[in-house]
């Protein structure tokens, strides 16, 4: 609360360029032109990346062909964290600027993040099978990723528990930020715990890479990142349209009520 003894609260609406761009209706208009180019870029990147990954990169002398799982695993592991970052930035947008577009961005990102995290875990365990001999190992990275998946699923469950999505957005934004603050602590504690209990576990991502591996890897990272951006924008458009349909329904209901 303000300290000045004469408190005058001003909340007059301003429209700057950002508000204009981020207004849901405007967003629908300009994002329409992005969907197709983004889709094309994503498909191209995937074609190049997958071709490299399957036909133009060497086998690992220890792991053989299973090393190719890395081209899916690493980008997904990166996106599992990148998506949370995007969600945390949106959460700040929701709380500080109270912008509906930030709400929508946050909501759409959660299932995407959960999917990337789940794929990272799944490919990780496929990769771990020949390396560790088991599908699951209480490895520091794997465990931290599992906890991240729980956090995404909790956020999705919370979105579903609220009827009023506007109220939900602000409260979920608080939780998202609390989670973001905690992620480094969780990673640190899990690593610490892991080194405490098992000193000798081979982490498959700790290998030195020749260019023939990391070039396709980078292409695949870009491909998956563009996949995220494309899906995120398409998801946001769908959510905005759904909310518009809801609002229209509500309006017609109210009008009928008044007539009747």
């Amino acid at each position: 609360m303000k300290k000045s003894s004469s408190a005058t609260e001003q909340t007059l609406k301003k429209m700057n360029w950002f508000d204009k761009l981020a207004h849901p209706g405007q967003f629908l208009k300009w994002s329409k032109y992005l969907v197709l180019p983004l889709t094309i870029i994503t498909i191209l990147l995937f074609t190049i990346g997958l071709w490299f990954a399957f036909f133009n990169s060497p086998e690992d002398y220890q792991m053989g062909d299973t090393v190719r799982i890395m081209y899916v695993h690493v980008p997904n592991a990166w996106l599992s964290q990148f998506t949370y970052m995007a969600m945390a930035v949106s959460a700040i947008g929701t709380l500080v600027w109270r912008h509906p577009i930030a709400d929508v961005s946050m909501k759409v990102a959660a299932p995407l993040g959960a999917a990337f995290t789940a794929i990272a875990l799944f490919t990780g365990s496929l990769w771990g099978r020949p390396t560790w001999g088991t599908f699951w190992e209480w490895d520091g990275r794997m465990t931290a990723t599992l906890i991240l998946l729980f956090m995404y699923l909790g956020l999705i469950a919370l979105w579903k528990s609220f009827d009023d999505q506007l109220r939900a957005a602000k409260l979920i934004a608080v939780l998202t930020l609390v989670g973001a603050v905690n992620i480094p602590i969780i990673k640190f504690s899990v690593d610490w715990w892991n080194t405490l209990h098992q000193s000798s576990s081979i982490s498959p991502s700790g290998i030195a890479m020749p260019p023939s591996i990391y070039i396709p890897l980078f292409v695949m990272m870009f491909a998956f990142t563009f996949l995220f951006i494309t899906l995120h924008i398409v998801g946001m458009r769908t959510e905005i349209l759904r909310r518009k349909a809801d609002a229209l329904e509500r309006k017609s209901l109210n009008q009928n009520e008044k007539r009747g």
């Binding site: 004469s6 408190a7 609260e9 909340t11 007059l12 609406k13 809801d246 109210n254």
Partner: protein
């Protein structure tokens, strides 16, 4: 009251409120200052409670302006939002505590004293049961106890949501006298009600009927 209450004025211009994606109030203008009471009237569901909550600073304002201003400076640094008390339709009573304990808590929270608690219970007509648990109270008595919070809270601005609900005509008169006394002391009252309050009709009572200008 011995101490002169700090005085405030409120100006609301073109206020628009949206809750749960519904446009509940738009283009509200009003003004009131210390020593005056503002009575908000209107049918159920017209947004009286929301307007009160917005004035209390709970709600996000979609458009327009709510301006509280301190008209007379005094030594304490409180803002209007720290100098008000809101009585909602919920009683905020703990049934496992006695009446005295209930009120003593609010006195501690809002700057009242122990003597205020006894006085307030007497005035609310609950003095004989001061040590009973609040569990025993009827709805009307609970309403009186929640209103008695005003008497132990040293707050110049009162926001009252349906202060007479659950009360009989005797209770209505009591509420009216509470408001009258508070105005005499230089307080400011904003009350939402759908009933006429039997107050001394005079210039200092303003009434606004919501939902008529449409």
């Amino acid at each position: 009251m011995s101490k002169i209450l700090p005085s405030y004025s409120l100006k609301v211009k073109n206020l628009q409120l949206i809750r749960s994606r519904r446009d509940i109030l738009s283009n509200i203008c009003l003004s009131v200052k210390s020593g005056e009471a503002l009575i908000l009237r209107g049918a159920n569901g017209i947004g009286k409670t929301s307007l009160l909550m917005a004035l209390a600073g709970y709600l996000h304002i979609e458009a327009g302006l709510i301006g509280w201003e301190k008209t007379k400076q005094d030594d304490d640094e409180k803002t209007a939002y720290e100098d008000m008390h809101f009585i909602s339709h919920q009683y905020a009573i703990k049934e496992n505590l006695s009446l005295t304990e209930n009120l003593k808590f609010w006195a501690d929270m809002n700057g009242g004293s122990k003597d205020d608690v006894f006085m307030a219970l007497e005035k609310a007509g609950l003095g004989h049961g001061a040590d009973f648990e609040a569990l025993m109270l009827s709805q009307g008595q609970k309403k009186r106890l929640s209103l008695a919070r005003l008497l132990v809270s040293k707050k110049p601005i009162w926001l009252l949501d349906e202060p007479t609900s659950a009360l009989d005509s005797e209770g209505d008169k009591w509420v009216a006298s509470l408001i009258d006394n508070h105005l005499d002391d230089g307080g400011l009252v904003i009350a939402a009600t759908h009933l006429d309050l039997p107050m001394k009709k005079n210039k200092r009572i303003k009434t606004i009927i919501l939902g008529q200008d449409k």
